[in-house]
Symmetry: C2
């Protein structure tokens, strides 16, 4: 087996493993429920999140999901305000949540420790329970993703979404928690069914788009995290200059750059945000851009060049676990079509220790 | 004069007009001071911002500048939480700030009205005092930019930064307000001096990079807004797939896509954030990418392919008014080098009325 095939197979194995990883997370439900109940009892006045990259996209998801699940107000905090400018941000009565799959991202670790020192309750969301991030926290939300060997995060991303949703549901109460856990089991079943179909469906699209170097991923609301994550996968695995935009923001300037070699990946997650996504698709098509529509409401969008619909999750808040799958698979297949090893992107290491 | 020359000249006129526009804003200082004092007296528990595009980048600036000037905690709010999902976000005791140069961006108008109905104090930041946004607000922060005829916002962007800084300084007290106003006058003088030099300096860089279609703009802290705005100018005026990243996030995946045809625009704003920007520049050079360094600390960065240093502002919080100038000028000049009319980007209208 060639080195390329090995890297590509490894990434595919981890994409395929996701439903099993979500089920493993459910083995930790009791621990997550206890953490959610404890945090809810504190009635946090504000919940601050800090992260980079894939973990930051999970924080985008949390902004919507935790507000809708348990009413928390989420603030995406600036790490440099406290770390570079010496301006304390967190205060007592607040909750500070630092996300890092490795638990060793230096500024996230420093930010969480500073927030705790300032009196906030500190929670680490990490795949490494014995990491620096976990050791400096009042509570740890486990991901239970198991070792992730590909440089590009896939199962740790969806496990982070699932863990945050479980936490928020249990913070809302035991009944909501149990219902969410049951919906997560159903979502894993749906993913397992859908993956083989999606694996086949991305191949002809990657062939047609194999010369693509620029792309926008658009969504609005709960699926904005999906757009951000798909853009990052396409960038780090297939070297596409891919940018995520809210469907509405695309009209505020970026639409000008579109042309027939600059596609748009549109995620249609729910009826509430469908009009904004439909308008973005219309504008992209008017600009001559190929459009790939994905998500559970993909079929409701007119004018798509390609469609990769995903199942409706039993709980709509879990939809982003399914909506990201076509993007993960497409990024891998596009890399192969471009002659890139998707298992070992250049210039990257698994644990990022940048300043 | 050809249509292209007209559009290009109009945009250049508006870029050059910025120092005069900032001075015009100072004619409104009394009104801005009164608003700042009134809002400070309310001691807002949380300040929510909502905007799209260029105005959203001004909100990024506010997150840093207003925390540092008057201690406010800024939350970049989700408009879809309240407008699409029916989840009230604002509450009494909070301040809600909607930014729209035209004052007619539909979801920003609806979001601000909803926040006011929920009991928050509503402030409109707009260049149109008789707009829907202004009419539904408890207070209006004027921009005094005068009519902006180019589709790409330049003077309305820097006037928004200046107005927010003046507001925050007066919220901190009359002495801080007067000092900031004086520093703004000095910043206008520095911009007037620097603009002719920068206009000449961007030309050879645009010639060398005239085939560029992908770019990252990186910064950290206060200048993150500058990176976002430069990326948007390059996208809407020169059709570059340009993405802004925090200098640290670039290492979390995006660095993989860099190569010799994919440059990095690095903004070095202050010593506090210099290590993160220097690390990003080092990684970009290791990946073979051309690097353009800008900002007042540009000279402190090693390894630049091109350098476009800007003056140190009399108050470091006003540095972003100067740091964005090379990006505005480069976007225009790059468009001309690519044969694009920078005064009339395709697929865009001045006032965006998208869903």
């Amino acid at each position: 087996m060639s080195a390329e095939a090995t890297g590509a197979e490894l990434l595919l194995d981890e994409i395929r493993e996701q439903p099993a990883a979500w089920r493993r997370l459910l083995d930790h439900e009791e621990e997550i429920a206890a953490l959610g109940q404890r945090l809810a009892a504190e009635r946090p006045s504000l919940v601050r999140f800090a992260a980079h990259g894939t973990s930051d996209h999970a924080a985008t998801y949390a902004m919507y999901a935790l507000r809708l699940l348990c009413g928390w107000t989420i603030l995406r905090d600036s790490m440099s305000l406290s770390l570079s400018y010496g301006a304390a941000t967190a205060t007592p009565g607040e909750l500070a949540v630092g996300l890092s799959q490795s638990g060793e991202t230096p500024d996230v670790v420093a930010w969480l420790h500073a927030a705790r020192a300032a009196g906030a309750t500190a929670v680490a969301v990490t795949n490494a329970g014995d990491s620096s991030l976990a050791r400096g926290a009042d509570g740890v939300l486990p991901l239970a993703a198991g070792p992730e060997r590909s440089i590009a995060a896939t199962k740790t991303y969806t496990c982070t979404l699932a863990a945050l949703a479980l936490l928020g549901a249990h913070a809302a109460g035991p009944e909501r928690g149990a219902a969410l856990a049951s919906a997560l089991r159903g979502t894993a079943d749906l993913a397992e069914e859908a993956l083989p179909r999606l694996e086949r469906a991305v191949e002809p699209i990657a062939d047609v788009l194999s010369s693509v170097e620029r792309l926008y991923a658009v969504a609005r609301g709960l699926e904005l995290a999906t757009a951000a994550e798909v853009a990052l996968k396409l960038t780090e695995i297939a070297y596409v200059a891919a940018k995520a935009l809210t469907a509405t923001s695309m009209a505020h300037g970026p639409v000008a750059a579109l042309d027939r070699s600059f596609p748009v990946w549109a995620v249609a997650g729910d009826e509430a945000t469908l009009p904004a996504v439909a308008e973005a698709v219309r504008r992209a098509r008017d600009a001559g851009a190929p459009v790939i529509t994905t998500g559970p409401e993909a079929a409701a969008l007119d004018g798509a060049t390609f469609t990769l619909a995903t199942p409706h999750a039993p709980d709509p808040l879990l939809s982003p676990l399914l909506s990201v799958l076509p993007g993960q698979l497409f990024a891998r297949t596009l890399a192969l079509a471009k002659g890139i090893d998707p298992g070992a992107p250049r210039h990257l290491r698994k644990v990022t220790l940048a300043a």
